[in-house]
Symmetry: C2
Subunit: 574 residues, 2 copies
Amino acid sequence: MYSYLAPLRDMRFVIEEVLQAGTDWQAMARFADLDYDTAAQVLEEAARFAGDVLAPLNAQGDREGCHWHDGQVSTPAGFADAYRAFVAAGWPSLACDPVHGGQGLPLLVKTAFDEMLSATNHAWMMYPGLLHGAYECLNAYGSDALKDRYLADLVSGRSLATMNLTEPQAGSDLSLIRTRAEPADDDTWLVSGNKVFISGGEHDWTDNILHLVLCRLPDAPAGSRGLSLVLAPKVLPDGRVNAIHCDGIEHKMGIKASATCAMRFERATAWLVGAPHRGLTALFVMMNAARLHVSLQGLGHLEMAQQNAQRYACERIQGRGQAIGRHAAVRRIIWTQRALCEGQRVLAYWTAHWLDQAQHHPLRDRREQAHQIVSVLTPVLKALLTDNGHRGADEALQVWGGYGYTRDCGIEQTVRDSRIAMIYEGTNEIQALDLIQRKVIEDSGSALRTVLAALEASLAAVRAVPHCHDLVRAYQQQRDALQRCIDEMPVRIQNDPGWSMRIADDFLRALGLTLLGWAWLRISEVSHGHEGDPWYDAKRASARFGMEWLLGEATWRWQRVMAPATALPELPPG
Amino acid sequence: MYSYLAPLRDMRFVIEEVLQAGTDWQAMARFADLDYDTAAQVLEEAARFAGDVLAPLNAQGDREGCHWHDGQVSTPAGFADAYRAFVAAGWPSLACDPVHGGQGLPLLVKTAFDEMLSATNHAWMMYPGLLHGAYECLNAYGSDALKDRYLADLVSGRSLATMNLTEPQAGSDLSLIRTRAEPADDDTWLVSGNKVFISGGEHDWTDNILHLVLCRLPDAPAGSRGLSLVLAPKVLPDGRVNAIHCDGIEHKMGIKASATCAMRFERATAWLVGAPHRGLTALFVMMNAARLHVSLQGLGHLEMAQQNAQRYACERIQGRGQAIGRHAAVRRIIWTQRALCEGQRVLAYWTAHWLDQAQHHPLRDRREQAHQIVSVLTPVLKALLTDNGHRGADEALQVWGGYGYTRDCGIEQTVRDSRIAMIYEGTNEIQALDLIQRKVIEDSGSALRTVLAALEASLAAVRAVPHCHDLVRAYQQQRDALQRCIDEMPVRIQNDPGWSMRIADDFLRALGLTLLGWAWLRISEVSHGHEGDPWYDAKRASARFGMEWLLGEATWRWQRVMAPATALPELPPG
């Protein structure tokens, strides 16, 4: 029976023992009163919502899917009710500012929350998934009038929100956007154009939907620097329905219960968010959090796959009365996913904790340090965790054999659902380019050096643990390769102009594995002193497995990154 | 538009230029009259059947699926008609013995044929996929009476055939099979039991279906050595319907148009095939050919994915009017799949050519050499080509971005369909164990040395090509690692009893990549002398890409294989 047990102890382990977040919370006014038990209670409550309400809807939502009829979208049975329960429990306000009625909890706590909800029902989570980002965007860039009108609806979840970027001719390249907004008589704009792949563009959950729409004003300069952001609500303040139409929904490989809409704006009334032509600046406020959110989908899927594979492997008997989990091949698959889950959880939560510090830490240096670290970690996490989420689930399917290929088993839905996370919010190839070009080269490696320094600072203790010495060496080997890469980068870029584009994906993966090496080291260190306690023994075992089995891939990746001049010719004609 | 252009020129290139199969054909009486043009004409005709008849049914079959009602199975519209056209054209008899009305063509030609049909419509191909194997099995082990009764039906395709191995409690471990056969009064047996995952167990294509059923006789010894094979037809010779029931079909991730049936035999009349308790021996006659067939599904899927990704990448314009195929990330994905396709085609066809020689070569030494080579190559191909088929298609999906995730695009079906090939006919983990334990260790590496010698023999020429020197070195590095592994194996096995189980998957993958290195070298060599011809230039480019970008993974895998003592502990309790 495919099911989910929220890894609450693992989450507390990362928050309290690995990151020791409480120390930093005390330094930040917003979180000074928060203690571990309160945070844990919130997560326990969230685990109940995820397990009792969302999990039972997941397979059924996949079979039923969404239906479009004459501009209206109906979602699977129970989905809208689950959202009403979500709103009634106050979940949308979790990490919002208390000034606006929010609970003011750290993004770190919301991160664990998002992981659970994405794991149990990715498709359902797509609808409220943009709520917090829209709140942050409006809070940072909306006019006072706009905030007065809509902010409370986002905090309470009374309205849901969408992000309208993609157009048929403009996917990864937003400079090709054609949607236009013309000034109306008052302070409003009239927006016209077609958007595709809009998650939750239309549904039967809330009366109003707030569409954030990337578009061009009449005097806009060409390219992506000339884009503006407007807010166009489904229902106008006077109760009239706005000129926004849903022309259809996509039939997709997965997340079938998430309505992916084709939207048509026909001189729809809208308000500007942020300055004219500075729409991307306003959007980027949402971007780090949104990409972190997507990486948690990858983590959630892998946790789901791994838990269920392990349980099945221990229950399924084949040959001489032994469970298949005794077979080396099965063990290898399951330890691989366990090690990845546990290391990745450290990296994701660490990033969320830096995001909290970037926003709320009283020391400017710390905020600056946090900004730098988050800027580097975000694309790495988005690509690494979604790649591993999908590929890991796909590998885990193998544990079930033929049964895994059937719909009744459950794992194949995880494989299908998880695939989208490698594509949206910027494909993983776009993340790799963002990392090497914007975050490393344009920055002359300075933010990356800040990351390295933060890793080093937290490793002093592990060097004192005798049975970790070989693990420290294994990590240092990768860290040294990274250091060499940074040092040689200026010369490489000069001598080999295609280098950074060519090795972008390998660089991201190698850096991601190196970071995982650090996470496994930290897990080993923190679990030291608990020898004989089976829970900590398992933590040490999976960290060691990660170091011995998985880290070696980085060596191969660094070799590809530093190879003299690998050929990557133009494609031959079709 | 997702479509398929049969790679006929690539197929001829491998058969005629890389393998130079014609020389060996002349030495075998069965093929002495066959020339390249005749073989090519057969393949052109097959390409028309695949493209005109099967390809248009593929997406529709996925949407419609199969339906079960009261023991009857209906297949998607057009599927049964396509089979009637297939039979009318005589395709089932392609590689059957002319003595039985077959066309007597080499398995090498059938291999290219299977690649095309699997690429265009994997689900459809599942039904006739076992036809040739059943023919070979019956031909080798059936009594004269049984052959007289059924062989002609298999050659003509008038009846289809199934393989009934798996039971609910017996998947990878056949020793757990419970289906029993009791002697009846005459020469028949009465077989009773439940089988699951039976492809084509019931359908609306042919009047009769011949079920080959693995079962136990009353006096059978325990374990897999005590299994017997019987043939139980759906319709008995006197026209009565046999006591065989289809209790339902699976709802699957992919190949939805293939009916995967739960079968119930209730004292069904059957005839023994082969000696009592020697059922596996009779089945193994089908096994090498069946596993090669599955590997061609992987190759076909990758060819399909790669062709379409490349065409889309050249057509889709984004940013400054450039096709997305100009982007390094897209080029990397597409060259990867091209290099894999082209190298794997050499390996698969090479294996088929050895299969032909194992059966038909007049020299006993050559037949023995061929048997050895096929025994090693078969598990490698099955696992390598199906892993790469699915993972490569999954990677190719990325080229389409969000569009690739929609049903309309086509690639997501290839991703779903290709997943099953990693599981059936022995999971890829079973292949890895078969390779390292049965084909290498139990054989003391002798067959593997025969493979290495065959590789070396064909490399003399490439060493003389100046611009291939670096490629030769890259290949030799992997070959040397393989040699070291063979040399150290006896000591490793003695000192580290868990070693072979632990490294089985890495060993298979490393060996597979090393073989690919050889294939790319051969392609480079054969394309030498055609510089300036764009077709050969592209062949050389993808071979070089494979050597420079993909072969390095083998270094990492060999390191894992030879690592001192990597920990792979028991799983912790759920």
